[in-house]
């Protein structure tokens, strides 16, 4: 009775794994680069430099306020139309760049919230012993803020993974897409295929979430606020 199903799963597994691998690679790049972007911009934003703060705010709102699908579309299809040489992205480049910027917008907000959540006395004490603003940031504020951002980063991680499920728009066959392709070959087993896809996502995300929970318990976190 289940013979067919087992055979079906066997035949689609390599494709799903291939999709998972692509999802994994893209999200890891997105997380790493996006986090770096977020650290830098989040820190800059906390300095409250008049023009810059507004500019970074605009960036955050544009990327958090519109669906990832539309952003992807703009980066892959629209920007090349401008004819600028360095804006010609292939699908992988477009996907990665958009994802990094998208991730960055969330991380910026987290870093900024973490810095704001730090008691003001920490920076004041550092300034009072004669540290410059930069030294205070580097030696006192950031080391403490960075510990607070680890737990909420798991939320971002999940948002990022969630958004990669539509990369097929630019022709990338990540995990969800592989599931869809498989469902075209086995239309009768649609549900089972999506259960498999969900299981693979779970295998990927669960350890991350566990780590974040553990980190949150150990060091406490900050929550994302809308400003």
């Amino acid at each position: 009775m289940f013979q067919d199903q087992i055979q079906m799963i066997q035949s689609i597994t390599p494709f799903l794994l291939e999709g998972l691998w692509l999802t994994f690679r893209i999200t890891i790049i997105g997380i790493v680069v996006g986090s770096l972007i977020g650290m830098v911009l989040g820190t800059l934003r906390s300095l409250r430099i008049p023009g810059l703060t507004a500019l970074i705010g605009l960036y955050i709102h544009l990327f958090r306020g519109s669906p990832f699908l539309v952003q992807l579309y703009i980066f892959y299809y629209l920007l090349p139309e401008l004819g600028v040489a360095w804006l010609q992205f292939d699908s992988m480049q477009a996907a990665v760049i958009t994802l990094c910027l998208y991730t960055g917008s969330y991380v910026t907000e987290i870093v900024n919230s973490a810095i704001a959540a730090l008691p003001k006395g920490q920076d004041e004490a550092a300034r009072a012993v004669g540290m410059t603003k930069a030294q205070s940031l580097w030696y006192v504020v950031l080391p403490q803020a960075l510990r607070m951002i680890i737990p909420p980063m798991s939320g971002v991680f999940v948002i990022i993974i969630k958004s990669t499920a539509i990369l097929s728009v630019v022709g990338l066959s990540e995990l969800t897409r592989q599931g869809q392709i498989a469902s075209l070959r086995f239309p009768g087993d649609l549900l089972l295929i999506y259960v498999c896809v969900a299981a693979l996502y779970f295998v990927y995300c669960y350890p991350v979430l566990k780590f974040a929970d553990w980190a949150e318990k150990r060091i406490g976190g900050v929550t994302l606020k809308m400003r």
Binding site: Q122, A125, A128, V129, G130, M131, Q135, Y139, V140, Q144
Partner: protein, 257 residues
């Protein structure tokens, strides 16, 4: 302003000239936290600042090491003009030690590292030198055994001792204390006051905001009473507590004693 304190000299350490500072209130209006305040602190003097909540004591202290900017007026510390944007404030601040009500130890560093960090970063001391100075100061404030404890494991009194040691490590010319004992348990208050008294006896120039009237009376060279951003009375402790001139001062002393 006669005072028997032997260390006191004629050299002016802090000079505050007609300083004003206003804050916008959240909804509307403004509050004038400092209203043309002038004062002088000579080397070796212990100036105690008292006054009701919101009278501007903290703001005054914070303008002295430029944690708060001023709207108008001029402040110099040890000859350097604090209120001049050209001055090297970071250098200046290292000259002025500050102790806060809530200690403000760096939460991610041990007691020892709290004292080492500003030395290596600001004074560019070698790590070895900074560590040995830090250990010396931890002994000085009475908790040599707590060097490796993180702030969270220290009691309030112990944290404040580390904070004082951290400020002393910079070899400050003036020390500012902003309600350094207000957040402490009554039994630990005494220890910190004793430590501050020792510093005063060694000749440290100090500006102290406190509600401890006994300390003010015993240790202060001079008392400044503030009300609504103004200095309304100033004098030697004996005269100040025995025979206050001002109505507000009398009222305040009545309530607090």
């Amino acid at each position: 302003m006669e005072n028997a304190r032997s260390h006191q000299s004629e050299a002016i350490m802090v000079s505050i000239e007609a300083v004003s500072r206003s804050f916008k209130l959240p909804r509307a209006g403004k509050v004038r936290a400092l209203d043309e305040v002038s004062a002088t602190v000579r080397q070796g003097e212990v100036v105690v600042i008292i006054g009701a909540s919101g009278s501007g004591k903290s703001t005054l202290l914070r303008t002295v090491n430029a944690l708060e900017r001023v709207d108008e007026g001029r402040i110099t510390v040890n000859g350097i003009e604090v209120t001049n944007p050209q001055s090297n404030l970071n250098r200046l601040r290292a000259n002025v030690g500050m102790v806060f009500q809530h200690f403000n130890l760096f939460a991610h560093k041990t007691a020892l590292e709290n004292i080492v960090l500003p030395q290596t970063v600001v004074l560019k001391r070698s790590r070895d030198e900074a560590v040995s100075r830090a250990r010396e100061l931890l002994s000085r404030v009475g908790i040599p055994e707590k060097a490796d404890a993180p702030p969270g494991d220290l009691s309030g009194g112990q944290q404040q001792r580390v904070a004082i040691a951290r400020a002393l490590a910079m070899n400050p010319k003036v020390m500012l204390f902003d309600e350094a004992t207000s957040a402490l348990d009554p039994e630990t208050v005494g220890g910190i006051l004793a430590l501050m008294r020792e510093l005063a006896d060694e000749g440290m120039t100090m500006m102290v905001v406190t509600h401890e009237m006994k300390f003010a009376e015993d240790v202060g060279s001079r008392i400044i009473f503030m009300d609504q951003g103004k200095i309304v009375e100033e004098g030697a402790p004996t005269m100040f507590f025995k025979a206050p001139d001002n109505e507000r001062t009398k009222e305040f002393l009545n309530q607090i004693l």
